[in-house]
């Protein structure tokens, strides 16, 4: 859709709607894999981000969804038909017809004390946006 976004001289920007499933098995110490939740890991901050290029900006990254997973929480993620938590606004009108939006799952390891690494998952998905705006009101 193309809607008012109040953030600049241009009055309207593209607003994208993405529905997604996430299935992930955070390493949990079973099957001989060491657990990512070792003695010094307090939590994982997981986030799904969309990365794409437009005429206006060479690189755009938007976080669509995030979750805090504490040590002890169920390490298996099985989310279906999720809607994005945050508005997927572009800085301009670069989503329409954009063939290559790459979705990646990443996480920030928060220790009890020490370094704060940012890790990007190895899997990623590319989705294209349609060439026309949606005219019906649905979300």
């Amino acid at each position: 859709k193309n809607v008012e976004d109040f953030t600049g001289p241009r009055e309207r920007s593209d607003l994208g709607f993405v529905t997604f499933d996430i299935t992930a098995d955070i390493l949990n110490g079973k099957n001989d894999f060491p657990s990512i939740f070792d003695w010094n890991v307090k939590q994982l901050f997981l986030y799904l981000s969309a990365e794409y290029s437009t005429k206006n900006n060479a690189l755009n990254q938007v976080v669509l969804w995030d979750k805090i997973m504490l040590r002890g929480d169920n390490p298996r993620l099985s989310l279906k038909d999720m809607k994005s938590k945050y508005f997927f606004f572009d800085d301009g009108n670069g989503l329409k017809g954009n063939r290559n939006i790459t979705l990646t799952l990443s996480w920030n390891v928060v220790p009890n004390a020490g370094i704060l690494p940012l890790v990007t998952g190895s899997g990623h998905v590319s989705v294209p946006f349609p060439d026309t705006y949606e005219t019906t009101k649905s979300y």
């Binding site: 953030t7 600049g8 307090k42 939590q43 901050f45 986030y47 981000s49 206006n56 900006n57 060479a58 690189l59 755009n60 990254q61 938007v62 976080v63 995030d66 805090i68 504490l70 945050y86 606004f89 800085d91 990443s106 920030n108 928060v110 220790p111 009890n112 004390a113 020490g114 370094i115 704060l116 940012l118």
Partner: protein, 184 residues
Amino acid sequence: AAAAAMLSLDFLDDVRRMNKRQLYYQVLNFGMIVSSALMIWKGLMVVTGSESPIVVVLSGSMEPAFHRGDLLFLTNRIEDPIRVGEIVVFRIEGREIPIVHRVLKIHEKQNGDIKFLTKGDNNAVDDRGLYKRGQHWLEKKDVVGRARGFVPYIGIVTILMNDYPKFKYAVLFLLGLFVLVHRE
């Protein structure tokens, strides 16, 4: 009262026993300790590229990752691009207190100009409401540094000294006393 009086007399005797030279020596010693500390701090600023390489978390907006009193270690190297998911410490124009939040959105141009939006993990909405009136994005110039590591609890001392000035004066007074009177 008698015991206290004796204690203060002993202490004064110690000071009187030091002649002028020893007193100057102690003062120079003290000066050296302060200079070394300042040099280490400046060195940290150079290595990390940040004007404030170590900051104390002041609010609960990044819980449960960081709590009030946690100490954060920052770097601010220009070569490190700002990307979503990173924890940045930034200052809003005209405000003194830096804020520690996570990058939610970035739009970067070919030439490297970048504008980005932040949000505290523990906040329901993004930070746009916190920015200056009419400001919708943060830029590189607003960034004090990126959080690379942290240590919990230790910064509480700084917060206590800020909130209770008497505590700060007591700590400084005791430190100064210790250094001046210490024989070695």
